[in-house]
Amino acid sequence: MIDTIRGENLLSLDNLSRTAIIEVLDVAESFVEVNQRAIKKVPALKGRVVASLFFEESTRTRLSFETAAKRLSADVLSLAVASSSVKKGESLRDTIATIDALGIDAVVMRHQSSGASLQVSRYVPHVHVINAGDGLHQHPTQGLLDVFTVRQVLCERHGTTGTESGGELFDGLHVLIVGDVRHSRVARSDIAAYVALGAHVRVAAPGTLLPDDIENWPVSVADDFDDALEWADVVGLLRLQSERGSGSYVPSLGEFTVTYGLTLERARRLRPTTLIMHPGPMNRGVEIDSRVADLPSALITRQVANGVPIRMAVLYLTVAGSPKESTL
């Protein structure tokens, strides 16, 4: 367990303490204000170079990381893998070495292989590596922005600020995570973050989409999805990962929707205060009914918006190391 990500890599939330997570959330909160200014830029990472390396498709993660880096005044090197030498067979190691040779301070990386960012961190130990999603393993900034979003909403309800509340609003919070837990890096990061902050996490999924060793996870398994929905303060939906073969884990998408989709009927039975979350991209009509996705209690676009301050905080803490108020 580490108590701060200052000057470190961010590869997983598994080894982050409550203190480390709250620090990121608090720094992110200070960056929210920056994003509301007319001139959305601070010089915190001026002269630093952040490389963005996405070996797998992404819309929101990539855009929000690059936006975050630019708002911190960092220079961004963005590799479009589809039109790069990776397509000519250049290895991950050589690709990293090439980018490193151009002079970089951090690399934000997404890769289809679990552990790829950890491997890259061994190739370039002098560069801060930030995992933007690796295979089925981890998606740490998604986990952080999810808990940040929940804290933000709960603080608004309680008339407090995130920094004041720290992590106390998570104590005993009921979080239900629904769907393809087995193949989800978001689930692994979300669960680590919620549990570190003191929430109770329950998972609901068809038996095939639960990990084989779910009994080792710090969660309980919902016996009944509808009961669990009533229990939940937060419902986190997961995308059914068809590209990872999830299709053959359930008889049909239709049956998944009937059994574990957040349909309009189910959404109507949620308590009015229950928050609905989805990391995107959504399969509307599969894990979430299209109309549910557009309800006010669905925080999906807010999650996307919060991706920017969270990623600013992560870049700032890892790359700049120690915060200096004057640079903000």
């Binding site: 290895s91 790829a116 491997q119």
Partner: protein
Amino acid sequence: MSTFLLRHGLVVRADTTFVGDVLVENGVIADVQDTISAPSGAHEIDATDCWIGPGFVDLHTHLREPGREESETVMSGSLAAAVGGYCAIVAMPNTEPALDNVALVAYVLERGAQCPIDVAVAGAVTQGRRGEKLAPIAEMAALGVRLFTDDGTGVQDPSLMRRALMYAKPLGVRLAQHCEDELLAGGGTMNEGALSSRLGLVGRPALAEELMVLRDIELVRLTGGAVHFMHLSTARSISLVVAARAEGLAVTCEVAPHHFTLDEGACEHFDPLFKVHPPLRTPSDVAALRHALISGAVDAVATDHAPHAPELKDLPFDEAPAGMLGLEHAASLTYEALGAQTCAPTQFFNLLSRAPARIAQLRAGDSRLKLSAHGGALHVGDDANLVIFDPQQRWTVRRDEMLSRSTNTPYDGRAMFGRVRATLARGQLIVENGVLT
């Protein structure tokens, strides 16, 4: 120079040992006595405090020739083997193309004939190792091939495996199986369990191995054939084989040093050096394998020496090929697993030489294939395939010092107990003081 006098070592026969001298002349053991006076011109090798036994025989070596010569050649692999104390190795057929016909087998045998140690070949069971149609087993058997396997994968189709057993039986050849049901192992890259789940790596369940072991035991019962189970990695696989052997079924098994020295925890940092099939298992499996080595439940230690050039191995974990080096440290790891100071020399040589020579049918040698006899009891007149093992010597593995063309050892920097001091193959001194002569 063709006369060697091995002085004052512990001579390890099948069941007994005594301190004495071994004289090697013209490729054979010329004398074994308490004391032998050196003939003129004899090269004397002091073996005080060392064990003199039959050269090791590896049932499971991947030479990458033809097809992947940048990773290993027949020559480089055999030199690595010699340093590890091996006087004979059985080359696996999963080359590119696979060794599934007489011409390709003959090609590797010819390459092997130029090496200082004996290189035997295992032929593929099925054409192209695709698991669809039988390879020309009888033709390869006529050439002298004694072991057949699709290693890398097992024969998945049970009816095809049944037919292979029926076809092999009257030919007097043995099938060796890599046991993993690939449908159940399903593209997995490490042992299935809590760690694979946390790391987001797809697991290869122990059951995938055990089901195929069980299936093949039942097919042996059905056909009266014989199967050698390769690189068993779980406690339950060993129990299944022990029970089948007790019933009198013709089954043998090997374990690989990495499976009795390393557990799945080594995969924690996604280092592809630790990726291997079957995968590194749990600590309790490792303990069970070590126990099985000592108890005699396991017939042989085999290396599954699997060289991969750096550019092939240094990839994301799920993309990297499976396999690790084995030849140069197998004897030391076996000695350690057998208890080091409490290791019985007879058991050590049984596991590394006598049993594998019997399983590979190399006890008598084969004049057509120019293969000498292995795994003997150091009788006068035996082909002089000998190793001098120094149980006292400690050393450290250095990947840059490996003789293999590849460096994918999982033991870089690890302290080892006991080391091969000298290897005499076909009466020639190939390795002296731990290095090639």
